[in-house]
């Protein structure tokens, strides 16, 4: 692998254990949040739009959905980072792809959480 002049590719930045721990903490949260969401979505499937809005207007559901989106986008970006680091070797491709994925994930996370609040409070 060609070395760059930046310290980015030169070993530990003391952040490896944070990634490891964050992945597992978000995984634990998602066990509860994702099963809760799937159970609720199965109860809403085939019902009219109004039922979804009614469901979303219950504070517990809006808060649960916001937590789900926060935890799942976080967990997903950590996993995608590992995949990118394993399979994209050239630094000039690897880092821009990682930043793009992180940026898009943040955008969609904020967008979906804003949408939850918008529908819940409208």
């Amino acid at each position: 692998m060609p070395m760059s002049s930046s310290p980015r590719d030169l070993g530990s930045a003391k952040s490896g254990s944070h990634h490891w721990l964050a992945q597992r903490v978000s995984a634990l949260a998602l066990i509860v949040l994702s099963l809760w969401l799937v159970a609720n979505l199965l109860g809403l499937v085939f019902t009219p739009f109004g039922n979804y809005v009614f469901w979303l207007k219950q504070p517990i559901n809006a808060v649960g959905l916001i937590l789900f989106f926060a935890a799942s986008f976080y967990h997903s970006v950590l996993g995608l980072q590992t995949i990118i680091e394993d399979y994209i070797h050239r630094p000039c491709v690897r880092w821009p792809v990682l930043w793009l994925v992180q940026g898009l994930s943040l955008l969609l996370a904020v967008g979906s959480i804003y949408a939850v609040i918008y529908v819940a409070l409208k």
Binding site: R24, A27, I31, S34, T47, Y52, L108, S112, A115
Partner: protein, 137 residues
Amino acid sequence: MRPLSPHLQIYRPQITSVLSILHRITGFALAIGLLLLAGLIISAAFGEQSFDLVRGQLSTWYGYILLMGWSWAFYYHLCNGIRHLFWDMGKGFELSTVATSGWAVVLASLTMTVVTWVYVVQRSSIVQELLRNANVQ
């Protein structure tokens, strides 16, 4: 250069290696599925028409194939993720346990997927009947 693993192609696939790469593949698939879930909620913010447009795409044959794939990917990644969490606690590392828990994950994820879709199909007919009765009245 850091040392590279031997070429994967020369290995006979084993339950451990196949399930390991499946965890990554299902995780990637779920990252794509999350985009859809985000799209669904964002479309709801735009109103009923755009929400039903997205939902309509999911009620097609390709929509159902994708949803079935995602549901299995979800249950698999969930069950195998719990298996990983036990390993993180230092539990279940014996080779026989690793194989048993692996097959348990396969069986559990398939069972949960089938139960989910049996429920969805039954619910579909029940909801349709309710809507028909509502239209008659």
